[in-house]
Structure formats: C-alpha cells, structure tokens
C-alpha cells in the first residue's frame, strides 16, 4: 500500500475518526478530534464523509513525503504550510504529487492542525474506530518512518473554506455554557463568580480535560458517580474547574456546573496554556439548534 511517508512526526500527531462510540458502558473513552470545526472542514473539502480518519497534529512540526498522487487539506492551527518549499494555503484542498514534500511548520496561533487526505487514511479499527487514545493504550502517536496509507485520488479543481468560517485563534474567546447538572446546588455567588471572572487555561490541560486556573468556585458535595460526557464542567474540591475533552473518562463523581457548548469545544482546544478564557450562559435550545445546523451541513 502507498501513502504518505513520515519524515518528521511532530510532538504529538494522532489518527482520529468520529470516535470509539458505543463502548462507554465498559469504560472506553470515545476519543475523536478535539476541534470538530477544523476537522470537519478538512474532510468536507475533500468530499470525505463525516468522521473519515485524519491526522490531528498538535503544534505542527510535521514533514511527510507523498508516495502517491493525491489531494490533501490542512485546517485548524495556523501552521506555515509548504509543498517542496512552495507556501500553500490552509483551509483549502491541494494537489499533492508523488515525491513531493509536505511540510507543516510550528503553529503561530492555535494548537491543533488537521491533515485530511482524499478518501481518508487507512487503518485497522479497534472497537469500531481508528482513533488513537494514548491513556487507554489504543494506538500510538505518529513516529518517523511510519507510512500513513491512503489511496490515489484526483480532483479537477481547488476549493477552499469561505472566509466567514475561518476562526481567529488569537482572540480572547467567550465560551458558551449550558448550565445544569449540579448548578442549582452551588451558592448563587459562586456560580456568578464562575461567569464574572477571566480564567486562565492551565498548562496541565490535555486531551482528557482542559483545566482552568482562577479564583476558586466552591462546589457543593460530591455525587454518586454517574456517566459523564464531553464538555462537562467538573468542579473538584479545590474549586478549579476541569472541562472534559475528547479523551474523557466515562464516569465521574465531581459536581458539575454545566456543559460547554459543543461547537465551542474546538475553540477551547485551540487555546495555548495561560490563554484568558471567559464564559457566558447559553440556553440548551439555542445550542441544539446551532449544533443541528452544523451536523446537517457536515454529516451528510
């Protein structure tokens, strides 16, 4: 099989698809891309169905040599992109010829770039998914010398993402929260404190959870462990909230303040350590309506 040969793997590059769904009752984390917005556009540009396996590249620093004629798209973090040293645009589909060197430099803004290839990367699924989940030992990060298998493909013309959909990862995000869970059991001033202050993203954040640093929010008592989902905002006893991301555990017992809007989870994942974060409430109905629109467009 031919594909893209890895010359430089970057600090952490992971194959991801729609996630390992349907196994949470056995404690299996779903994984999947951290930034659905960028990942979905990368696949969409290549007419790939939703959840086609692509590469999530943390910070950049990747070099690949094509061993096949194909088309690729890179969306997400603003990495300098070149083919045989010719600069190339992000958020666009590009022809990549056999022998050409595709280079992604280190990100100037944003944290995760998504490299999709026409037809998707080919890998053997485990429990229905090729998503790499390091903590659970499912797969591993890309290494030098690896081959990312894919098939030859042709398009007749280029395409790019319309500019209104291009995010500005340098801005200070106002992230939307569906309040709920144990929110009613928090003291009113503690809940207000969460929304009133500017938080900082902790450098200890990872694919499992984004940790916030700020003035502690006093949580109510612990609950019986129950199933827990992506975007859940846990408040442990130290009062520093943790927002669950793609590699989240399946059950948790910390009190919950609410859930991050699903379409704002990708924006959070693009923030560097110590980036300022603010939160604002959103209704569940508004969040669902917007999410349905997103799915209708990308999940054909």
């Amino acid at each position: 099989m031919s594909g893209l040969r890895v010359l430089k793997p970057g600090p952490q590059s992971l194959l991801q698809d729609a996630g390992r769904l349907g196994w949470q009752h056995l404690g299996v984390s779903p994984a999947g891309p951290l930034d659905w917005h960028a990942a979905a556009w990368a696949n969409h540009l290549l007419n790939n169905p939703w959840g086609t396996p692509l590469l999530e590249i943390a910070l950049g620093g990747v070099e690949l040599q094509a061993e096949v004629d194909t088309w690729v798209a890179v969306c997400g973090a603003q990495v300098p992109l070149s083919m045989d040293d010719q600069p190339q645009p992000l958020w666009a589909r590009l022809s990549l010829r056999k022998g050409q060197l595709l280079r992604l430099g280190f990100a100037r803004s944003g944290q995760r770039a998504y490299l999709a290839v026409a037809g998707g990367f080919i890998a053997a699924p485990v429990l229905g998914s090729v998503s790499v989940q390091i903590r659970e030992g499912q797969g591993r990060a890309l290494q030098g010398g690896d081959l990312l298998p894919c098939q030859a493909a042709r398009f007749s013309h280029c395409a790019s993402v319309p500019w209104p959909y291009l995010p500005d990862y340098g801005s200070k995000p106002l992230l939307r929260v569906i309040t709920g869970g144990d929110a009613a059991n928090f003291e009113e001033d503690q809940l207000q404190g969460f929304f009133a202050q500017s938080w900082q993203l902790s450098p200890l954040s990872d694919r499992m959870g984004a940790r916030l640093i700020g003035e502690a929010v006093q949580p109510p008592g612990r609950q019986w462990s129950s199933g827990i989902g992506r975007g859940a905002i846990q408040v442990p006893p130290d009062g520093q909230p943790i927002i669950l991301q793609a590699d989240h555990q399946t059950m948790g017992g910390y009190p919950l303040l609410g859930w991050l809007h699903p379409l704002d989870q990708g924006r959070l994942a693009q923030c560097p350590a110590h980036h300022p974060l603010r939160f604002t409430p959103v209704s569940i109905g508004d969040a669902q309506a917007e999410l349905r629109e997103f799915y209708r467009f990308f999940r054909r």
Binding site: L21, W23, Q24, L26, G27, S226, G227, G229, T250, P262
Partner: protein, 225 residues
C-alpha cells in the same frame, strides 16, 4: 422519584434513586437492556452509573424532551415490576493475595494479613458499575471491617491486574494506570481485551467470587510478576 436531567446538548441523565442499594445494579442492568432494545436506534452510548443511566443520544434523531417522553412508559413498567433477583453470571477470578498494601490494610483495620484475605475472599460481590478505565468494574459490597478511605496520595502507576479496595468497594485494575486504592493482590487474567467480544467479561449485575492462588499459580495462569 425518577428525574430526567439534560446533560448538555446531546445527553440525558436518568436519576433513578438518591442512594444506591444492593438491588439497584441488577435493576439498572435490566432497565439498560430494555432501553437498548426499544430505543437503541436513537442512542450513541448508554452508561449505567450507581444510581443513574446516562443516555448519549443522536441529536439528529431526537432531543432530551422527546426522549424523556419515549422513556416514560418504559420506566413505568420497570417501576411496577416486583424485584426478582437475577442469578447473574458468576465469575470465579483467581487472585494471588500478595499486594503491596496488605500489611498496611491489616494494620489500619486492626486485623492480621490472613484475616484481611479471609474476609475479602469470603464475600460474593456484584458488579455495581463499570467505568474510570476500560473494564474497571466496581464490585460491592466489601465487608465493613475492611472499609478504608482512598490513599492520601494516589500511586502514579498501579500494575495491571491489581486487586484493590477503597471504602465499601473492591476492583481489579485491568491495565496499568494511576490509582488511589489499596492493593491487596494480583489477578493473572487480562480483564479487558479488545480482541474478545465483548472485550470485558464482567457486566453490570454479574456476580464475582475470588479464588485464592499462590505466586506459582499466578505465573502459570499467565500473570506477569
């Protein structure tokens, strides 16, 4: 009183009781089975908890309000049923009781090491929940004389197959992972294996007994010391 609580934009939490009890895991297992059979097409994941079931639904098929309406008749039937103890599958799991914390647990519980092992192995446990890590089954209920809070500082890595206790629960860590429970022994079996279907032999409501083995048996049955 059953409560429906939206859990974000794509999940619904069913809170079935305020406190867990001995019968609840089996009753929740039965309910989970029925929900899967009748409403499985609308769901992506279904996660039973100690007192709850979390339903991750497909927003393109339903929402929390519609799903709650669909669940009501099913829950009414479930509530009206008298409890029939399901025998549940019985798993006999070999354990080499040579854990790092055995002496410490004995000291804290004011028992001898042999008494700790005896009390632990005498109980028949039930799988009350599965979570934390793939195949990590919370087993209850541990003898009250062995109940201890979690360790003040969790270990960075607990060996795969470690049998551990905390509060009124016991469990086996299927893979090496960080862990704050007290280690009593080791199981030689692989308790989560993606090559098997299902990958985890234990299911909610199943029964578990522990069979004492020594280090030689542990190695013979595939354990890595």
């Amino acid at each position: 009183m059953i409560r429906f609580e939206p859990a974000g934009a794509e999940a619904l939490l069913l809170v079935l009781a305020e406190q867990p009890d001995a019968q609840l895991p089996q009753r929740i297992a039965l309910l989970a089975q029925r929900i899967r059979a009748e409403l499985g097409d609308l769901l992506i994941d279904l996660v039973p908890g100690w007192t709850s079931v979390l339903l991750h639904y497909d927003l393109m098929c339903t929402d929390h309000l519609q799903l709650a309406e669909r669940l009501k008749p099913l829950l009414e039937r479930w509530l009206a049923e008298p409890f029939v103890a399901q025998a549940g599958r019985l798993h006999e799991i070999p354990i080499w009781y040579g854990g790092e914390d055995l002496a410490e647990v004995a000291r804290l519980c004011q028992l001898s090491g042999a008494q700790v092992i005896e009390l632990h192995a005498a109980t028949e446990y039930r799988v009350g929940a599965i979570g934390f890590a793939p195949g990590f089954a919370y087993l209850g209920e541990l003898d009250a004389r062995l109940a201890l809070p979690r360790r003040a500082t969790p270990r960075i890595a607990v060996p795969a197959g470690s049998l551990a206790i905390a509060e009124r629960q016991t469990a086996i860590y299927p893979h090496s992972s960080p862990g704050g429970w007290h280690l009593l022994g080791r199981c030689p079996w692989l308790l989560f294996d993606v090559a098997q279907l299902p990958p985890c032999p234990l299911a909610l409501g199943d029964r578990v007994r522990f069979r004492r083995i020594d280090e030689r048996d542990f190695i013979r049955e595939g354990g890595q010391s």
